[in-house]
């Protein structure tokens, strides 16, 4: 097994992304260059407000500065404590942890389905693919939320040159309705389903993942789901973050995941 790095890192940058969303940069992290989209870091505080560490998907890396970016929305004690960090303050990073997304073929179309604050690993995936020579036109970025406020970081997504398809439940930004309905419509285009040309990548709330899992099966399209779960340890020893498998038994989100193929989980 690859060694896990436990490392003190410092807050190097902070950008307000609106609606309680923050983009935080941390470094120096020696393993930054080896990090792949879908992986996460488990963050420990010196004087934690909460008890466990907090797992955050990696939203980007700067391999030159050896920095890691995470994006958070202030919701609970962990995200609040991160939001209160000042420049130069330290936290402990354990990582990179978990299995990354498996990249699609260069000619396939990547359908990224983001729900709310689930978008960071998908944004990282899109950036990572484009850096590696993938055509941005082969990436469709579906991004859903309840209202316009939930769709943050739009400028960076647009700048990538991907097809950006947002949807909000109240219609205040993009299409009105669920993002998964938009995905379904996309796959309903004659000749699209089961063509082997599309691969779905999804991250978001449980309802979204469930819907994407169903849609992937219905349209015979391969897909990968990135899960989130409260994690006491983050590297497989506590067995606390399990998810039930269709084949019976359980898988650890932190160790066998957080990325799972569609059709494998009993969601």
């Amino acid at each position: 097994m690859k060694p896990i790095i436990s490392h003190e890192v410092f807050l190097t940058s902070r950008r307000d992304l609106k609606n309680d969303h923050l983009l935080l940069g941390f470094g120096p992290f020696p393993g930054a260059a080896s990090i792949k989209p879908g992986q996460f870091v488990h963050i420990g505080f010196r004087n934690p407000l909460a008890f466990y560490r907090r797992a955050f998907s990696i939203a980007g890396v700067n391999t030159v500065k050896r920095e890691i970016e995470i994006i958070l929305k202030v919701i609970g004690r962990g995200s609040y404590q991160l939001s209160q960090l000042r420049a130069g303050e330290g936290v402990n990073f354990l990582g990179p942890l978990g299995n990354p997304f498996v990249l699609p073929g260069k000619r396939q179309t990547a359908l990224m389905v983001a729900g709310g604050v689930g978008y960071p690993p998908l944004l990282f995936l899109a950036m990572h693919m484009i850096e590696r020579g993938y055509d941005p036109k082969n990436i469709v970025f579906f991004y859903g939320g309840r209202s316009s406020e939930d769709i943050v970081d739009r400028a960076r997504i647009r700048k990538l040159g991907v097809r950006f398809l947002p949807a909000t439940q109240n219609g205040s930004f993009g299409e009105r309705g669920m993002i998964t309905a938009l995905l379904k419509r996309f796959l309903s285009t004659p000749g699209t389903a089961g063509s082997g040309e599309n691969v779905i990548f999804a991250c978001g709330p449980e309802g979204l993942l469930e819907a994407v899992d169903r849609i992937a099966a219905e349209f015979e399209t391969p897909g990968q789901l990135a899960l989130e779960a409260p994690m006491p340890c983050g590297f497989g020893i506590c067995l606390g973050c399990v998810v039930p498998l269709k084949s019976g038994g359980f898988a650890r989100v932190c160790k066998e995941g957080p990325v799972f193929d569609t059709g494998t989980l009993a969601l």
Partner: protein, 327 residues
């Protein structure tokens, strides 16, 4: 002694008069005739079978590893949610998820072959027969230096009352496994009892070579929106710093009630806590939940423990055991 990790004090007596042959300060401790290089162990259920933790730090730094509870058959464990976070600790109900003793022996135990540490296999059971079967299978595995008996399991044949609830039952189960396992047996006591000293005496009467305590305290928390308990099992075991004062008190009580060595467990989060346990009577201390927050903690505790001993002008860590100055 066939264990590569330890020297038996019986076959190879420690050179007591030649202090200079050991590192100063000396962190080694002797328990049940075995010498462990230090009193810093990892607790069952918080270090898996060792493989994952070894990716964070070199397991050779440990005195011993106590592996996840093994049962006769594989168990998938409880459905999620299995854990919930509390102030000062966590609740868990993993449900003794494990690979079963056959797979454990065939696939997991050998991982620890090359390590010079004590290997203590934690065994759980739901009947006398199950404890006996699992322990006798481990008897043939020399790498299993000792067995820690998880007696906080319901006994199916006595209406689900925990083995660890009753001193007579504890004595019976310990003496039964002593007959089939030739190396030391360490019963791990449950704190969910009226008189822990009585249970400890039962364990000693059954032939326990050492006693470890405490297991988690039974607890429950509720989500007030859904009105459901936070765990799928409804109840779970509370661990973490919240339980440390209870653990210290019980360790001290048991230390004063039995002659066999006591291993302290319960909410130790740092070196200071480890020293507290030793002063209360523990010959070794298991780090558990703390590993989730700081997986390389054993290495840090080892370093700080040496510093503390130097500062206290003590040559050996054993000089701390039970040296509590009570009022």
């Amino acid at each position: 002694m066939n264990s590569p990790g330890m020297t038996s004090a019986r076959t190879k007596p420690a050179p007591l008069n030649k202090k200079d042959t050991r590192e100063t300060p000396d962190l080694s401790v002797e328990i049940a005739g075995y010498r462990f290089k230090n009193p810093i162990w990892t607790a069952s259920g918080t270090c898996g079978y060792g493989e994952e933790l070894d990716t964070v730090f070199d397991l050779n730094r440990l005195g011993a590893i106590v592996t996840k509870s093994i049962t006769r058959q594989p168990r998938p464990g409880h459905p999620p949610p299995r854990c919930s976070e509390e102030s000062g600790g966590m609740l868990n109900a993993i449900g003794l998820a494990n690979v079963g003793v056959d797979n454990y022996i065939a696939e997991k135990l050998s991982f620890l072959d090359g390590y010079r540490i004590g290997v203590i296999v934690n065994v759980a059971g739901f009947s006398f027969q199950e404890y006996i079967e699992v322990c006798s299978m481990l008897a043939d595995c020399p790498r299993a230096d000792m067995i820690e008996l998880n007696i906080s399991c319901p006994n199916i044949s006595s209406g689900g009352i925990e083995f660890g609830d009753n001193a007579k039952e504890v004595e019976r189960v310990v003496s039964a496994v002593k007959k089939v396992f030739p190396r030391p047996i360490i019963p791990k006591l449950s704190p969910n009892v009226t008189d822990i000293a009585e249970i400890a005496r039962g364990a000693e009467a059954g032939g326990a070579d050492a006693i470890s305590l405490i297991n988690t305290l039974i607890g429950m928390t509720v989500n007030i929106e859904t009105r459901r308990p936070t765990l799928s099992n409804n109840r779970g075991g509370l661990s973490g710093p919240a339980i440390k004062p209870i653990a210290l008190s019980m360790v001290n009580r048991v230390y004063e009630s039995v002659r066999v060595p006591v291993i302290g467990i319960g909410g130790a989060m740092n070196c200071r806590d480890v020293i507290e346990f030793m002063l209360c009577g523990a010959s070794a201390v298991q780090l558990g939940t703390a590993l989730f927050l700081q997986p390389d903690l054993p290495v840090i505790v080892e370093r700080e423990l040496k510093k503390y001993l130097k500062k206290q002008k003590l040559d050996t860590v054993t000089e701390l055991i039970g040296k509590l100055e009570k009022y």
